[in-house]
């Protein structure tokens, strides 16, 4: 089966682009725990390697591993490998993660394109049982539900019921008791998936901690809870695994200074407004000269301008170039 790389150019999806840059900024703050360049990055790079390129160039990470589940894509991945320091492992993440050495802090981005299921939770569990303190886990899953306002109530009920049945079948015994089919509407599925992943992390860390002493016990601090949509609704949830004794160092990371950091069920919605280059430049200039509160006569819709204001530092710039 071809992966989503066959259908989507990962490097130019604007919301994904913003997400990647935000994550990069969060990872940079791990320096309070140790040199970020010494981290290992493990991802599911497809053949675009957009995340690998960014994290290598911005963070200096050289210990990199991309897991590619599609055997047909492996030669193409090899061909597109942007840096020699990236090791490509052909196989399913369930099989490949256990083959890696887990003796160094790792940033693991399980950037799936499918919906949450038992196999994805197995990777989460593996990380929780094996990752070193200081490691970051990030999980992206498809949490798509159609826009409810486009359908009749009855049709939405059908869609929700079907999705709840699917979810119950795919993450057997993990759907919280209070979740009803109607709770999955729109971004509801993403909210429920975050809870399921979070519950899994808590349970596996609890079990791992059972035999550890007080100072060596591990904690998980959620940092990311992105909702974004280039085509499908997607959820990215992630956080830091650290030792109880590392709390001061974690505080020095000052993650909370970044306004996209979300430590609980509160999400950060990445909205990328459609703006022309001139409009962006106009908004950027006004931002720098914020004290000049002259009325804006550009005609840019306010919600576009506001959305841009939240993410302008991470806003993608795509241009056609002759190479």
């Amino acid at each position: 089966m071809p992966g989503s790389g066959e259908h989507v150019d990962y490097s130019i999806r604007p919301a994904k682009h913003v997400e990647r840059k935000m994550m990069c900024e969060a990872f940079r703050r791990l320096s309070a725990l140790g040199p970020v360049k010494d981290y290992r990055y493990v991802g599911l790079g497809s053949f675009y390697f957009a995340d690998f390129v960014l994290f290598h160039k911005s963070l200096g990470i050289t210990n990199m591993c991309s897991i590619e589940a599609d055997p047909d894509a492996a030669p193409r991945c090899e061909f597109n490998r942007p840096f020699g320091c990236i090791e490509i492992r052909e196989g399913h993440s369930n099989d490949e993660l256990p083959k890696l050495a887990w003796d160094a802090p790792t940033i693991l981005w399980l950037d799936y394109d499918g919906k949450l299921d038992e196999s994805k939770l197995a990777d989460v569990r593996f990380f929780c049982a094996n990752a070193q303190p200081g490691s970051m886990l990030v999980v992206t899953v498809n949490a798509h539900m159609p826009l409810s306002s486009k359908f009749s109530e009855q049709r939405i009920r059908q869609i929700n019921n079907k999705e709840l049945t699917r979810l119950q079948g795919h993450v057997s015994g993990r759907v919280p008791l209070d979740v009803k089919a109607r709770d999955l509407t729109d971004w509801g599925l993403a909210r429920v998936c975050r809870r399921i992943i979070d519950n899994e992390i808590k349970e596996w860390l609890r079990d791992r901690n059972a035999s550890l002493g007080e100072a060596t016990r591990l904690r998980y601090k959620q940092l990311l809870n992105f909702h974004y949509r280039d085509t499908s609704r997607m959820l990215t949830v992630g956080g830091l695994l650290y030792r109880e004794g590392q709390e001061d160092a974690v505080a020095r990371c000052t993650f909370e200074d970044l306004d996209f950091i979300c430590g609980d069920s509160e999400r950060y919605l990445i909205e990328v407004p459609y703006l022309t280059y001139l409009e962006r430049r106009h908004l950027d200039q006004r931002r720098i000269a914020a004290e000049v509160a002259s009325p804006d006569t550009s005609g840019i819709p306010k919600d576009h301008a506001d959305a841009y204001g939240k993410i302008y530092r991470y806003f993608p710039a795509f241009a056609e170039v002759e190479l």
Binding site: P2, D72, T165, R166, Q168, G169, H170, S172, G173, R174, V175, P176, L177, D178, R195, N199, E200, K202, E203, R206
Partner: protein, 454 residues
């Protein structure tokens, strides 16, 4: 080491000490039961309370509310409360004393459930109850109680009886148990949402029928719902059903064996197997072991295999005397040595053999699907709707269609090969087709037409 020699002149004492110790109940007995099952045991008491006051009537208006927090555990019901006689002489005894008033069709039998659950949960328990003619509170401080090895009593606090000739208001009848100073491992479990999900599923499965009778059970504010038991039934497929009476007619047994399917799009093998109920309480679910007859062997029921993922069997043991039922004390399995169960186990195997045979035939049919154009067994299996047990039309033996032996048209075979995607796409484009299947068929037809002699 020198050994002290026995003095042959002294008489040998005959007495052998066999007193129970409190440690046995507090620390040992509790190891034999999972936390979830201990809580289900407490729900059993509520269900028996409902049976006591409603007899055969529906349980509408009765509820059980369970709250699991990291500091306390609370279970509260309005199922009639504990009478003075029951509370004073039986409910707090370790084991079931002879003469314990019985509730017909009860699920409480061994006289250990409540105490074991309380010890399993924590170090302090407070039991409050109001029944028609008696209200009381009992506080158990486990450490204090353990420190008085000879004292096997508890004390009523604030015991009350209504004025002569009166009853306590019906709306107040019920029992509330609060356990605090939870064991760290229990508090840790209660802190996990995943534990609550599993606990909810276990309670819902165990008390499916009690809930169907109208008892509302909620966990942390969420109403629990059970999955009704179903089997597939159509004109072509009929489940097997058998009923019998054992122990001089005191135990009634009903057995169903047939096929079902998961609610999920993909069949979930976890649901396959036998489900055994004693007085409507599930004691063994989705069992695929030799306990329910999957013993393996040429002439018997085989060991479970995923090709039997759609097998479902339901065994109901019912008796007014719960002591005659073949359950273990944790109600998480059957007493295999019980005469009653051994007899029924044979019948279960008899009933399931034709169903197993059917699954084997379905597999054969699937295996030769390359050459057979008809797949009546698979078709029947797909078409037969799910029906609740009460709505089923059954037979003495499992009924299923016969495999297809007459083939329509020429024998066929299947060709399977892999090619690079890019090449397949080129072929698809050249042929103007959208699927790999069509690409394969059209290229074969083209070759046959152009390259093969007639």
């Amino acid at each position: 080491m020198a050994r002290r020699k026995a003095n042959p002149a002294q008489p040998i004492p005959l007495e052998v000490k066999a007193d129970p110790t409190k440690e046995f109940f507090i620390e040992m007995l509790t190891r034999d039961i999972e936390l979830k099952h201990a809580i289900v045991d407490l729900v059993d008491n509520c269900a028996d309370g409902a049976r006591r006051i409603r007899k055969q009537q529906p349980f509408d208006g009765l509820h059980v509310r369970i709250e699991t927090g990291t500091d306390t555990f609370v279970i509260k019901d309005n199922c009639g409360g504990i009478s003075e006689k029951l509370a004073r002489h039986y409910a707090f005894c370790f084991g079931r004393p002879a003469g314990t008033p019985s509730v017909k069709h009860s699920v409480g039998q061994f006289g250990v459930g409540m105490k074991r659950a309380l010890f399993k949960l924590g170090k302090r328990a407070e039991i409050e109850s109001t029944s028609a003619k008696f209200a009381f509170r009992v506080v158990i401080d486990v450490d204090d109680w353990q420190n008085k090895p000879e004292d096997w009593t508890f004390e009523f606090q604030d015991p009350r009886r209504p004025k002569k000739g009166r009853l306590f208001a019906k709306g107040k009848w019920g029992t509330r148990i609060e356990v605090s100073r939870l064991h760290p491992s229990v508090a840790s479990e209660f802190g996990l949402e995943n534990f609550g999900i599993r606990l909810g599923a276990d309670i819902a499965a165990a008390h499916l029928y009690t809930m169907e009778k109208g008892l509302k059970i909620s966990l942390n504010g969420n109403r629990l719902k059970g999955q009704p038991l179903t089997l597939q039934q159509s004109k072509e497929i009929k489940p097997a059903y058998e009923e019998m009476e054992l122990e001089g007619g005191k135990v009634k047994v009903r057995l169903y064996a047939g096929v079902s399917r998961s609610k999920q799009p993909r069949e979930d093998p976890k649901e396959a197997g036998w489900y055994i109920f004693c007085n409507d309480r599930l004691v063994l679910g989705a069992d695929k072991s030799d306990v329910t007859g999957w013993i393996g062997g040429r002439a018997d029921v085989p060991k479970y295999h995923p090709q039997y993922a759609r097998f479902r069997g339901y065994a109901f043991f019912d008796s007014d005397d719960a002591g005659l039922l073949p359950w273990n004390t944790t109600k998480t399995g059957v007493d295999e040595n019980s005469k009653c169960y051994r007899t029924v186990q044979q019948r279960m195997m008899n009933l399931m053999q034709p169903v197993i045979g059917f699954f084997n035939a379905v597999k054969d049919e699937t295996d030769r699907a390359e050459e057979a154009l008809k797949t009546p067994l698979r078709d029947a299996l797909q078409k037969a709707p799910l029906k609740k047990l009460a709505e089923l039309e059954t037979g003495d033996v499992f009924v299923a269609p016969k495999p297809d032996v007459i083939r329509d048209g020429p024998r066929v075979g299947k060709i399977l090969y892999k090619k690079p995607l890019t090449e397949i796409k080129r072929v698809q484009k050249a042929l103007g087709v959208g699927t790999y299947h069509e690409a394969g068929e059209k290229t074969f037809e083209h070759f046959l037409r152009t390259e093969c002699d007639d």
